[in-house]
Amino acid sequence: MILKPQSFEPLGKKVILAFEELGRMSLLAQDFFYWIGIAPLQGKRALRRSSFADQLLFMGNESLTIVFLVTVSVGAVLALQAAYQLNQFGAAMYTGALVSVSMARELGPLVTAIIIAGRVGASITAELGTMKVSEEVDALITMGIPPIPFLVVPRMLAMLVMLPVLTVLSFALGIFGGYLIGVFALGLDGISYLKESFDALVTKDILTGTAKSFIFALLVGLIATYKGLHVKGGAEGVGRSTTESVVYSIIAIIISDAILTAVFFYAFP
């Protein structure tokens, strides 16, 4: 088969579209930072407190149970897999250390962010998308109410607060899951398991893990609100955007996790 120059046209179009989308998303980010940073100084009302509180409550409430179930299981699985290897060196007592450090540095932020992208990010996109297709966003604009502080700011801020909170919680839950396996399945001593877990953890582990969760929150929040506000094509469009929101969020989380881990690895050895 001979490849004609035209064969690359669809690919080129896709690349251009992707860059356009990235550009528009960074404009949304710029708007968001304008509204939380500069607008209040100009005397504009940037935060609707009750709406922010509603979003916080919604996010925490919706995801706490899932975060609990998943991170306890991840901690437990990690303990089992670690013990399987460490046993070969007679080092099963270090299971707790391995679990706590991997939860704080890597798995806690990653797993929690993915859960939030699926649970909260999707619902933000669906909600804003529905508002968009039923002309509610247009109604806001024609009432002279800018949609960014009204719709985006409370959701983004709630995300930036709630994801790190849930992430810190996930450290504890992961350690708890590891503890259950360590004590009840591997027969390790409970006190020394916990001591081992916390001795191995240093402040840097907690800080880098939490820092990651802020970046993830920013990415998930931006993708979810952007996808919601740019829905096209009625109810079907809302469904498509919601799926894209989750897929893009998860890809963004994992790629940025790789980059951040490398940055932290070399910047804070």
Binding site: S134, A139, I141, T142, M143, G144, I145
Partner: protein, 268 residues
């Protein structure tokens, strides 16, 4: 009388398609102007330009003396506080109660006390005949009621000008005429100016002081309802009587059909 809305030589293209071609119109204080036209005639685009959701490619739109087509976002927001808009699907916020929906513009744009806002909301809801519905949710009330709540929200800030997008769409004839009556009453009681976009004939002739008919992006007729009724323009007559244009189907069919299957018009 004062001119509330003035449109000068507005053009709009979507890509290579021309949607509006040199629209000129004026609306005077206290007048009800009905914009009629078939689907694809450009009336929704014109309305979106009037309320500042779309920028025209050429031309000016003065609302209360301010050119909304060229204004910056903040200036637009100032103008928008002075007019109301009733959307086709009501566009009520489902996360808010009926009362909160009506209160929203007041909360956002005034420093009025909570109690005072509550009273204003009560009054506005009474004006549209929905006393005591404050605590209902939008999904708990009927389509006609939603339209009325949306109307109450549109007039919450006592605007001088209100736009209506297909006020009778999706409603039964009786409810639609109730909405028409409300528009008439409010226009008189509150001395408002109204611009109504619709394709429903009965409703249009009932409420209009003046009408314009849009066809293929141009105003083909304009004047008081009686004049429009007796207009000689073939499209206007056809539109009023709901007749099928013999040309419409045959004009488009062969080339469109070929285009749709072969991607070209000159297949043979």
């Amino acid at each position: 009388m004062k001119t509330v809305l003035e449109v000068q030589n507005v053009h709009k293209w979507f890509g290579t398609r021309r949607i509006l071609n040199g629209i000129n119109l004026q609306v005077r204080e206290g007048e009800t102007l009905v914009i009629m036209g078939g689907s694809g005639g450009g009336k929704s685009t014109l309305l979106r330009i009037l309320i500042g959701l779309l920028r025209p490619d050429q031309g000016q739109v003065f609302i209360l003396g301010k050119d909304i087509a060229q204004a910056r976002d903040e200036e637009k927001d100032e103008v928008r506080k002075k007019f109301g808009m009733l959307f086709q699907g009501s566009a009520l916020f489902n996360s808010l109660s009926v009362g909160e929906n009506v209160a929203l513009p007041l909360r956002e744009h005034t420093n009025l006390d909570y109690e005072i806002i509550r009273i204003i909301v009560k009054v506005k809801l009474e004006l549209v005949g929905l006393t005591g519905f404050e605590n209902h949710r939008p999904y708990e009330i009927s389509g006609g009621m939603k339209k009325r709540v949306a109307l109450a929200r549109a007039i919450a800030l006592d605007p001088t000008l209100v736009f209506y997008d297909e006020p009778g769409a999706g409603l039964d004839p009786i409810t639609a005429s109730v909405i028409d009556q409300l528009i008439l009453d409010l226009t008189r009681k509150l001395k408002m100016t109204s611009v109504v976009v619709t394709h429903e004939m009965t409703s249009a002739f009932r409420i209009a002081d003046r009408m314009i008919v849009l066809h293929k992006g141009e105003i083909v007729a304009s004047g008081p309802p009686d004049e429009i009724k007796h207009s000689k323009h073939p499209y206007v007559q056809q539109f009023i009587h709901g007749e099928i244009d013999d040309n419409v189907l045959s004009q488009e069919s062969r080339s469109k059909y070929l285009q749709s299957i072969f991607g070209t018009e000159d297949y043979d």
